[in-house]
Subunit: 615 residues, 2 copies
């Protein structure tokens, strides 16, 4: 890398079984950094090539051979002492759940170990007729038969391949039965418990019959200016340690620390977003998790935050010896969204989701929508086959991951995802989705910036790309009023651009509670050997976000899709501290588009030129 | 039928797609009656043919093309007013779970409707390459594509085919995903909730890619002497109505009436048969079911007993709107055997078993064995993947049907069945099985006759063929001491022979609480036009039981297999009313073989000659 920055991307065509490597040269690297940036850049090249061959982007089948799946790391990934850098980013031209761009990011070890195996990224083209897995060991890549692994859960798959390959720094990314069965909310799992890819990226692997990618090796990850890097990294790690969120809140309580915080703010969606206050939220809070269920913490590779939880349910009807998490989002989606406060049931259901490779935000939200449909009398009794689909029935969430993965009974409807489910039953307004993706656990009627963030997130209802919860609720980097709309556009844009850099670095977004663009500029300068300023960091992020939006536009998504479910726009919050509030989206959107240089959700030619994006 | 008794058997070869009918003439009918008798007779013909072609019976793969599956009705089935005659019998040369003869019997409507469709039985040969179902409508038979049905649960399959075929008296027998996935404890379901076939007969259908058989029609079932029949039938129905079991106990409480009865007798196996007393049995009793869960009763076709239950769980963590049963055996296997007293969890787990087509006695017993293996430290922690496999954990039984059907995580071990599971973990003595089939809910240390019945039952650990619980516990037809061994052989033999007739009639065994061989002789004489005496009834039953045993012998099963798990022979019951008791099997077996005219579990040539069995 020092002395001519070149990244090595593995290209695997599963139809032809052709395996090649391709270099990403310094000019592209400087513009797109790595990770998500590379993925967006490469996806756009495929899109252009498809258009050249006469294949309209809108006609690409998410589960067809034309879809492209990319796994990518960045310059920070796997670098010792680079803060929280054991991550990888996954993208696809089309996510099965939404029909537009797919994007996800996961922790664990796999991202770092992919680099130790000698690769910076992987592009998957085509589709295999029979189940295969990829083995990337010490710089070599092989497509191998996965017939014996097909049908196995993510743990058996991970353990089997880890044991088979042996060696140093061995890690597995794989799909479970949900991905094999092409469920549009199947998620790609790695290291047994980490998940990337909302919108069904695992179903793409399923459609390509790619069960897993195992990586192993001990190649060194280059750092251009080691001494400079060490000094910057040490300072950043120290800053993180002293920060109340990354140094105390997350390590002590995990992400579940947010349950009481967001519920107290009146923005913890309850019973399919009918309210923002869960009466018995404390029974599923981070404090309760820590007190009654936590066995120990678990950190991703190279991470000092250690927000991962290993839990156990020791009594009651849902005992389980060890389980990962649950994370805030899962606690909410399988809990509050469904009116369920039985923590044991949530842990149990979540663990089964991990086994089967099913994404809990979308699953829980879809169940919640089905519960409301049913309680309002919109689901014929015969469709339920005796299943008691009502808010608060723990049996539903414990049953649903299985039922959905194998499309059994009502599971065949849940497997549609919330949007199509609600359309099927004639009430699309009850689907709490943006661009077909289920929204996470923050009601924007109480955190207005999140309304704009959800509406304008490229991949759909996503809390990660524009996490204004930080300033609006947590006061990071400064406290702003969550209930006003003025000025939120600027925050959303800044977060979206900055997070694009983080996802291209690739390291953990939680670092941004403590580190700013200046820190990233210094870290990345030292690693790459370039001289990156804070402004350039934001410009790279903006470039990536805009090129991603260009792809979205080509797929048919524009300003009309930058919206929210009508419940958030028209139904005033019925109770709690933000009672009476709705989201005034249009006002924020207007401000946002102006800041972005977009018209109706589409970047203008001037903006693209300014960002040096070549179409 | 009157004036030359001929039964019409449909022969379907799924390899060649050849469909023919074959007559069973009066000479065979008089010797084997119908139902199980026909099936045993036909299976023996196949066995002889295989031997002639040089295929050793012991080399027949239960899931291979050579295995033969037979569905059969008898002269009583579908005859209006013939007591409880909406049943059918299923047999196979080899059950996947046991490797020896497979046999099962179910209520509902399908048996009667098969006759209304114009057929007395169906023989399935060969195997299809692609999923198919059979449609038998108004005397015509067709093999049709079942691609769309594959993967669906038993309810969706039943409803889809019922709706597709329409017409009068339409009924479906089918397999769920468990059968498709070749799980050796998959059971054949009919009419959504009725099950036949322990030992994995549904896996045979799965191996033959036969998803379902739908029947429909309104052909009349002939009665040779209608007036005589009406008079006899009316008298029998009246007797049943006045009988305390068939007229009151079963209608009021269902089969679950037995929970408290058998627990009070100290013979209700608890925690994998470590005890015969469940401390909190009343929470899962028939009385509790009736008081807290029962919605309504459901009768099979033409049945006046109405022992079926429709239940609902209205509160707690396992709510369910409507569920069938649960029956006594299920309550025990998923409950007491696993140390679980949460009735809601049992109802929920049982309903999922019905959906997936999984047999709850074998499943629950296998879970119970796994729980004991685990509590004794014989299962490595890594095999459990965090699953809390301990007695009393309700989550296990709710999870297990799914996990086992799709072989996910520890489910791949449960799917082996108790015998192979315990062998795998090096402790075969913990498997409570006979001939590889899990024993049902009566501990013979407290009901000695059942010890002999289990040991000598042809299909393996079966309570139905020699139900000495009737005299030993219920005092029907007379009360005998359950704790002595003397004289039990005679009871067991009599039951086995009589029940063979009932299963060949084919109607419900529960009628025998009220009706004796004399009643059956009169009913069958009136229906067939023959003059059958009480002695002939027993002789027909003995013939069928002996020919079934001949087949077993050819499959390699003999006296060495007529035994019980060592726990019942050597471990004295630790507590309760039968504390200190074991089963003195050898004494009963000696007496039994003598009565049977068997040597080492094998009928002598003299006995076969006496019974007019031609080898």
């Amino acid at each position: 890398m020092p002395g001519g920055y070149v990244d090595k991307i593995l290209k695997v065509n599963l139809t032809t079984k052709n395996v090649t490597t391709e270099a990403i040269k310094e000019d592209v690297a400087k513009k797109y950094l790595g990770g998500k940036g590379y993925a967006v850049y490469l996806l756009y090249q495929y899109l252009k090539e498809y258009e050249r061959r006469g294949l309209s982007p809108q006609n690409i089948d998410p589960l067809g051979k034309e879809n492209i799946l990319i796994f990518a790391t960045g310059p920070g990934t796997g670098v010792p002492r680079f803060p929280s850098s054991g991550r990888h980013h996954i993208m696809a031209l089309k996510a099965p759940l939404t029909g537009s761009i797919g994007s996800g990011n996961a922790g664990g070890e796999w991202g770092a170990f992919l680099k130790f195996a000698g690769f910076d990224g992987i592009v998957i083209e085509g589709a295999s007729d029979t189940p295969v897995y990829l083995a990337l060991v010490d710089g070599k890549a092989e497509i191998r038969d996965a017939g014996e692994l097909w049908g196995k859960n993510t743990m058996d798959t991970t353990r089997a391949l880890t044991s088979l390959v042996g060696g140093k720094n061995t890690s597995v990314v794989c799909i479970g039965p949900a991905g094999e069965n092409l469920i549009p909310m199947a998620t790609v799992m790695n290291d047994e418990y980490r998940a990337a890819g909302r919108g069904g990226l695992a179903a793409i692997m399923g459609s390509k019959r790619l069960k897993a990618i195992v990586v192993s090796g001990d190649q060194k990850v280059p750092v251009a200016k080691p001494e400079e890097f060490r000094s910057v990294a040490d300072r950043c790690l120290d800053t993180m340690k002293k920060n109340p969120v990354t140094g105390e809140g997350l390590p002590t309580y995990g992400t579940a620390i947010l349950v009481n915080v967001i519920n107290n703010a009146g923005a913890f969606p309850y019973k399919n977003w009918q309210s923002g206050v869960m009466p018995d939220a404390d029974s599923i809070s981070g404090e309760t998790l820590t007190k009654d269920y936590l066995i120990r913490k678990r950190a991703c590779w190279g991470c000092t935050i250690e927000c991962g939880r290993i839990s156990s349910v020791k009594s009651g009807p849902f005992q389980i010896l060890t389980a990962e998490g649950p994370e805030y989002e899962t606690i909410w989606s399988l809990g509050s969204a469904c009116g369920i406060s039985d923590f044991g049931a949530i842990v149990k259901a979540h663990q089964v989701c991990n086994e089967l490779g099913l994404e809990p935000i979308s699953l829980g939200s879809t169940i919640a929508a089905a519960m409301e449909l049913n309680e309002k009398g919109y689901i014929p009794a015969e469709d339920l086959q005796g299943w008691a689909l009502g808010f608060g029935n723990a049996a539903v969430i414990v049953d649903a991951p299985w039922r959905t993965t194998y499309k059994v009974g009502f599971g065949k409807y849940l497997a549609l995802g919330s949007k199509k489910l609600c359309e099927l039953y004639g009430h699309p307004e009850l689907s709490m989705t943006v661009k077909g993706l289920e929204m996470p656990a923050y009601d924007p009627r109480g955190i207005k910036g999140m309304g704009l963030a959800y509406a304008t997130a490229n991949r759909g209802g996503c809390h990660l790309t524009g996490y204004t919860v930080a300033p609006e609720i947590l006061g990071i980097p400064e406290k702003i009023d969550p209930l006003i709309t003025e000025g939120k556009a600027q925050w959303v844009k800044a977060f979206q651009d900055f997070v694009s850099v983080v996802n291209s670095t690739v390291n953990c977004q939680f670092t941004t509670f403590a580190l700013g663009a200046k820190d990233y500029a210094e870290l990345l300068s030292a690693v790459t050997g370039w001289e990156l300023s804070e402004d350039e960091i934001f410009k790279i992020g903006e470039r990536i976000y805009n090129l991603e939006r260009v792809i979205m536009n080509r797929l048919g998504v524009d300003g009309k899709d930058d919206t929210l479910p009508s419940r958030l726009l028209k139904e005033p919050m019925p109770e709690g501290p933000v009672k009476g509030h709705v989201v005034d989206l249009e006002k924020m959107k207007e401000e946002y588009y102006k800041l972005r240089g977009w018209v109706n959700g589409t970047p203008t030619p001037e903006k693209l030129k300014e960002l040096e994006i070549e179409l």
